[in-house]
Every structure is written in structure tokens, then in C-alpha cells.
């Protein structure tokens, strides 16, 4: 028995080491997990949605989970990314590889603008200001219907083929579409990981833990908040671009506050402050919605009840709790 317990201990330390290696290559590991996703989920369209919302929520997590700022307006960046992609392809006739950077730039610019106004406030006021400004964007899109399609949504920019280095990819094929869009997700994951590993990443966590102390240490808290807001908006805009390419429409609802609310729900389900949590949250939410709504029209009750259970008993979300419970993952994140 004694022998067995030392064996157990060494296997535990081995798995600790393995876990440490895995978390050092978290972008790669995340991508491997995401590459398997379409073969695990009931449909490819659902897998693409998990990928898209995973990226959006990951961007949001940078602001909410790592910096501790609860924004209720992230639909604005998601929607702007989507709308600009659609408008650039459909109205300006740009190819997709020009439209996407343009859309991300637009989302980032909007994030700078909204961030400059909202990061002056804190707590509940910050949430309200982001919500109000995002609704402003929503109504602009609703009113400028000759440009955005208004209530009917933006249509007429279907990308059915992607030419890449002499390679022609049929973009209507769900599997091709997933892996092309995964390249965008890879970019977002790498950027996110890079930010978190940088000294700046440590500063934003310091701001979350104790803003006054961070200030006393000599960090420009206001500047850092604005930068993180901008980066968060940019990553969410990448998700918007992916959504436009995936659905080939941009619904007006993508700018609605319910989308912002859904993003908050997903991050809480998956686990704020964890690297892969956003994808787990998006997957959980979308799978629940997809599967439960197939067998009852009252799916909202089921999803709502599960959400309440999570908030009450698993405040760290699925991924956060799992990392706490697994013995080899403790002390690491």
C-alpha cells in the first residue's frame, strides 16, 4: 500500500508537469481542442457558432475576467465587425481579405471611442455607460437602413469561394468554412495569450485586484483601462467578421443588448479569468439552446435554471471550477 501511494504521488507530480507543459503551449492546445469540435458537436453550423462566440467572449473576458470591468455593450464591437465586413464586401466590392482587416480596424476605433468615454466611470456606472453607447450604435444601424439594411438586416455579400495561394476553397462547405474561420480564431487566441503573458497582462490583473495599489505602484490606470478596452473590442470584432462570413447575413440583433447579455452569460458559464473558459461557456450555452429547444419550446426555462445553478454553486464557471478540482491543475491556471 505504501508503494502504491508513492506511485500515486509520483504520477500526480508527473501529471502536474504535463499540465504545466500544456499550459505553456495553451494556444496550440486550445487549437487542437477546437479542431476536434466539429466532429463532436451535433452540427457543423453549431460548431462554427461556438468558435465565433468563443472568440467574442474571449475578447470580452480580457476586459471582464482579467481587468474586472463589467461591460454591457460588447455587442457593439461584435456587430460593427460583422456589419463592416458585410458592407465592405457587398457594397464596396472589396475582397474578403481586405474587408476583414478593415472591419477589425473599425471595431477597434469604435472601442477606443466608447472606451474613452466609459472608462472614466467605474462600477455600475461603467456598465450603464457601455450599455447606453452600444444601444446608440444599434439605433444608428437601425436608422441608416439604406446602408445597413435596417431591420431586415444586411444581405447580399455571400462569400462562396476563398482563393488562397492559388488554392480554391469552397467556402459553402461547412467543414472548409470551419477550418478557415479557425485561422481567425487562432489569430485571436495568439493575440490574447500574448497580451496576458506580457507585463501589460500583469498590470491589468493588478488593476483588477487593487486599483489604488496599482496606481500607487506608478501605473497609469486610466491609460491601461483604455488600452485593454480597445484590445477587447478588437478581439470581439474578429468574432464579428467571422459571424458575417459564416451566416452571410448580419442580423440587426447582433448589435442588440441581448447579444451583450448573452456574452456576459457565456463568460460566467465557462469561467471568467480562464484562458479556455470562454470557449467552454460558448459551447455550453449554444449546445443547451440547440439541444433543449429541439424537444421543448420552453427551452428558456431550462437554460435559465441551469444558469442560476451555476451562479449559485459554481461562481468560477465550468472551466474555472474544473481547474480548481483537478489535483494536477491546482496552483496553475
Amino acid at each position: 500500500m505504501a508503494v502504491e501511494s508513492t506511485g500515486e504521488a509520483s504520477s500526480l507530480s508527473q501529471s502536474r508537469r504535463l499540465f504545466a507543459v500544456l499550459s505553456d503551449h495553451r494556444v496550440l492546445v486550445s487549437l487542437v481542442a477546437l479542431a476536434l469540435l466539429p466532429w463532436l458537436l451535433p452540427s457543423k453550423a453549431l460548431a462554427v457558432n461556438v468558435l465565433i462566440y468563443g472568440v467574442v467572449v474571449m475578447g470580452y473576458n480580457l476586459l471582464f475576467g482579467y481587468t474586472g470591468l463589467l461591460s454591457f455593450g460588447h455587442a457593439a464591437f461584435f456587430g460593427t465587425g460583422a456589419y463592416l465586413t458585410g458592407i465592405a464586401i457587398g457594397r464596396w466590392g472589396l475582397p474578403w481579405f481586405a474587408a476583414v482587416p478593415l472591419a477589425i480596424a473599425a471595431g477597434t476605433a469604435l472601442a477606443v471611442l466608447i472606451g474613452a468615454i466609459s472608462t472614466r466611470t467605474r462600477g455600475i456606472y461603467f456598465s450603464m455607460v457601455t450599455l447606453a453607447l452600444a444601444q446608440l450604435v444599434y439605433y444608428v444601424a437601425l436608422q441608416a437602413s439604406s446602408f445597413t439594411g435596417g431591420e431586415n438586416g444586411l444581405r447580399g455579400f455571400t462569400v462562396d469561394r476563398i482563393d488562397l495561394l492559388g488554392l480554391q476553397i469552397n467556402f459553402l462547405d461547412p467543414v472548409n468554412k470551419y477550418y478557415v474561420l479557425m485561422a481567425f480564431a487562432a489569430l485571436a487566441l495568439w493575440v490574447q495569450s500574448r497580451i496576458l503573458n506580457s507585463p501589460f497582462g500583469a498590470v491589468i490583473e493588478a488593476i483588477r485586484e487593487n486599483e489604488q495599489r496599482a496606481r500607487a505602484c506608478g501605473y497609469d490606470v486610466e491609460r491601461c483601462k483604455l488600452i485593454v478596452f480597445m484590445l477587447s473590442g478588437a478581439i470581439s470584432a474578429i468574432g464579428g467578421c467571422m459571424s458575417a462570413l459564416h451566416l452571410s447575413i448580419v442580423p440587426l440583433d447582433s448589435l442588440h443588448y441581448q447579444t451583450s447579455g448573452m456574452i456576459v452569460m457565456m463568460v460566467l458559464l465557462g469561467g471568467a479569468r480562464s484562458f479556455f473558459g470562454p470557449f467552454i461557456g460558448a459551447a455550453t450555452f449554444l449546445i443547451l439552446e440547440d439541444v433543449v429547444s429541439l424537444w421543448t419550446p420552453h427551452w428558456q426555462i431550462v437554460v435559465g435554471a441551469i444558469f442560476v445553478v451555476f451562479v449559485l454553486f459554481l461562481p468560477k464557471g465550468i472551466w474555472g471550477t474544473l481547474l480548481d478540482v483537478l489535483p494536477f491543475a491546482r496552483e496553475r491556471r
Binding site: 501511494s5 444581405r155 483537478l326
Partner: protein, 416 residues
Amino acid sequence: MPVYETKSRPAGLSRRKAMMAMSAGVAALAMPRLGRAADDTIRIGFPTPLTGPFAAEARDQVKCAELAVKLVNDKGGIGGRKVELLVRDDKLNAGEAATRTLELIEKDKVHAVVGALSSAVQLAVNEVTRARGVIYVSISQSDTINEVKDFSKFTFHEALNPHMTTAAVARQTLKKGMKVAHLVADYAYGHEMLRGFKRAQASIGAESVGEILHPFGAADYSTFMPRLMSMRPDVLCISNFGRDQANAIKQAVDFGIKQQMKIVVPVILHNQRLAVGADVFEGVVGGANYYWGLETQNKTAAEFNKAFRTANGGAIPTDYGAYGYSGVGSLLQAMQVAGGTDTEKVVAALEGLQYDLTKGPQHYRKCDHQSVQSVLVLESKKKSAMANENDLFAIVANDPGADEMLRSCSELGHAT
């Protein structure tokens, strides 16, 4: 489980258990993929908003669509192939509808899609289906889907469109020199109805005295009513849908608007009239694609009602329900003609089809695939005049279908 394990190990989940749990999870997720085998069933996708403010109308659509499928299957299907209807909740959300339609096409391999109950949602579904060359029969009102920008040869529109509906209603209710005020839901449906009414007013010579937009899904209309009354119109047109219609009319009546002016709606809804009651709706006039009371003057309507009653325990079909029946029914007839599901052949068959499923002859116009059909104008009966609880409306007019009721092909941008 041996007791010593709990002593020699830190509390919590072992790796082995975690692995087991994870593989069980993966297996559970993969399960539905295994049970599906290829077969020759004809599958029709049917996205519709089973949740949300239009749920009552959506449920009727599903019942009628299922009836259309059942009747075909009872007669042996299409060329011996059974037909299956795959109903999906689009949650009245365009993005959700597009995702569901993608799933229906990519995973369920449907042969055609019928459905949707909102202008934005049907345009989203149409965008997905036309890019993939899948036939889509829309059963919700829209003018936009007829226009050349959203049209494709795979796009068919079985529902009435706001242009036809408002013109028919205006012909019965407006006269030269009348003053008209509008209360309009602020989204595509409302805007298109308003445009239709104004166009009809211009040709009749009735004058607009004002229009008020209300937010979609509003519960409180009390602030609008005094403003509408101060415009002193002869007719108030309320252009909204579903629960909004019931709420708006109810509050208008509470304000005594009916003593001052006539209330007219583009589409008078069976379910909303039932929900609110006879006293409130009394005298309200509106258009409809179908009303069960048509059975006294139309043989097809009598047959449709009978089939629906038999399948649904004596209940009667409603207006939006009938769209579900004729949308799926016309598609299945075209598949019969085409002898299968070959898209090109079915499109050709739909274009040449003369069908009579619920209320008289219909056909899809060649240039924009809009269904040319009759438009009913109904007036809500007062309680004492109702013969039974389903005797809701009197049929004021039944305008037979004609190409002249539609906007011309050239106006819509189609080559003529």
C-alpha cells in the same frame, strides 16, 4: 470502492475519473451522429418562431404544415417516398434562423425549406438557401423578398405581400376625401404596410393626417392615443402584428377611439381576435389570406377545414396556419409533378403549377415567384351576431387573385 483510496489521496477528482467523465461526455455528444442512416425520405425544413410574440401563429403554421405532409403520406408519399417535416424554432431571430437553416441543409440534408414568420427572418433564410441552391417557400408577408435584389430562382413567396393586402383593405374602407391616421410598428412589417396604405390612399384620394411609430413589442399605447385622436381622422390604420395588434386595439377602444373613427388593420388576426374578445374587435376591418368561414362559399375551403378538423379534434384552421398548409402543399404538388426532388425540375414545376389548396386557384408569378391569390377583407362581428364561438368575422370582400394586384415585374426590377 476500497476504503484506503480515500486516505492516501488528496480530496477531489482523480485524473482517471476525470478522463472517464470526459470520454463519457464526448460519447454522449457523438451519440446522435450514430443513429442516423441514409434513406430516401423527402425532408422539408420548417423554421418558425415557436417562442416569442408570434408563437400562437407559428404553432398554427406547424399544425397545418404537418397536415399537408400527412395527407401526402397517407396517399403513399411522392413516388413511393415518405415526406418528413423538420420543425425548428427560429426564435424570431434572423441569426438563429440562418444557423438553423444551415443545420437543416448541411446536417439534415433537407430537400427544401418552407417557413419563417417575420420579414427579417425570411430574408435571412432566403440568403442561406439561395446561396446553396435550395428551394425556399416563404410563408410570411414581405414586399422586399419580391424585389430583384433578394430574389433568386429558388425563392418562392406563398404569403400575401403588404402591397396586395393594404390595397384590398383600402378599396373597402377608404373613400375620396377621407382623412387617415396611422399607428405603425417600427420595423419592416409596419413600414411596408404603411407604404402600401399610402400608395392605395394616393390612388383613392384619401389624405394622410399623421403617422405615429411605436416600438416593436410595445405593451403601452396610452401615450399615442390622445395624439391620434387630436389628428381627427375618419380612419385609423393600425399596422402591427401578433400580440401588438391585440394590445393596440384594446387600448384604442379604452380611449373611446371607435366612437370617433373606424379602426382598420392590414391583416386581421384570428388568434388575436380570440385572445381579446368580440366587444373590443367589433367593427374592426382587416385583410386576410384565409378565414374558415369561407367554407360556405368555397368548396376547397370546406375540404381543407374538414381535413384539419379531423386531424385536430374539431379545431379550425387559422389565417397564418393556412399559409403553412398551402406553402408545404404547393411544394409537394410540384414535387409530384417533377417526380422527385431534383431542384431544377421542382423549380420548373412550381413555376408552372396551378394549385388550389385552401381558397381557390393560385399560381406563382414567373418573374418574382409571388403567389397570385385572392385577398379577403373581413369585419369583426359583434357578440350578438356570432352564431358560435368561432364565428368571428363577416366576409366583406373576396377579391380574386390577379396579376394586376401585384407591383409590376419591371417596378420590382425584374427583366420582363
